[in-house]
Symmetry: C2
Subunit: 110 residues, 2 copies
């Protein structure tokens, strides 16, 4: 066993390292939230267009293409493609929920 | 009723508008995937550090602060804060899953 002092130094160094990494994660999260906000502005435009023209809120063919593309981008950037797909489905579920609300607001059937 | 030709023109204009918006969504999604990949690189570093030092994979106090901050950022950028929180929890669940795997790989208890 190392004496207490060097254990404390080790803990201190680890915590500093952890805080540095967490500051990077916080910066990335701020960027992610702002990009998600921008994405929803665009999907809201899609929702309004679809509702006005009576188009269905979901588009399975488009979603299939998006998933293929995102999985490829994930592999390229060393992100787990399974996670990228689950993440995309999670975001799309929220978008479709918004589209249904837009359709209800304009009195169109979903 | 408008004659068929102007209905077709209207459909054509709507589809063009839809494709334009979708190209923007695709650009944003590529940026989101790359940022998520970068986020996971950092959380993997956190996972390795935690596993090496026997720290628990989850950190409820840190997560609470992150959620508060992300909700505030979401409000500022007109993103639904409820969605931002659900989205964050979804990403963190994956991160903790990775941390548990890292702990198992280094033979530490979770």
């Amino acid at each position: 066993m190392a004496p207490n002092e060097s254990v404390n130094d080790d803990v201190q160094a680890t915590l500093e390292q952890l805080h540095g990494i967490r500051r990077s994660i916080d910066n990335i999260d701020a960027a992610l939230v702002h990009l998600l906000a921008e994405r929803f502005k665009f999907t809201q435009q899609v929702g309004t267009l679809k509702a006005l023209h009576g188009l269905p809120p979901a588009d399975p063919e488009r979603e299939k293409q998006q998933i293929q593309r995102l999985r490829a981008l994930a592999e390229e950037s060393h992100l787990d493609p399974e996670f990228a797909e689950k993440w995309f489905n999670f975001v799309v579920a929220e978008v479709i929920h918004h589209h249904l609300a837009a359709a209800a607001a304009t009195g169109q059937e979903s």
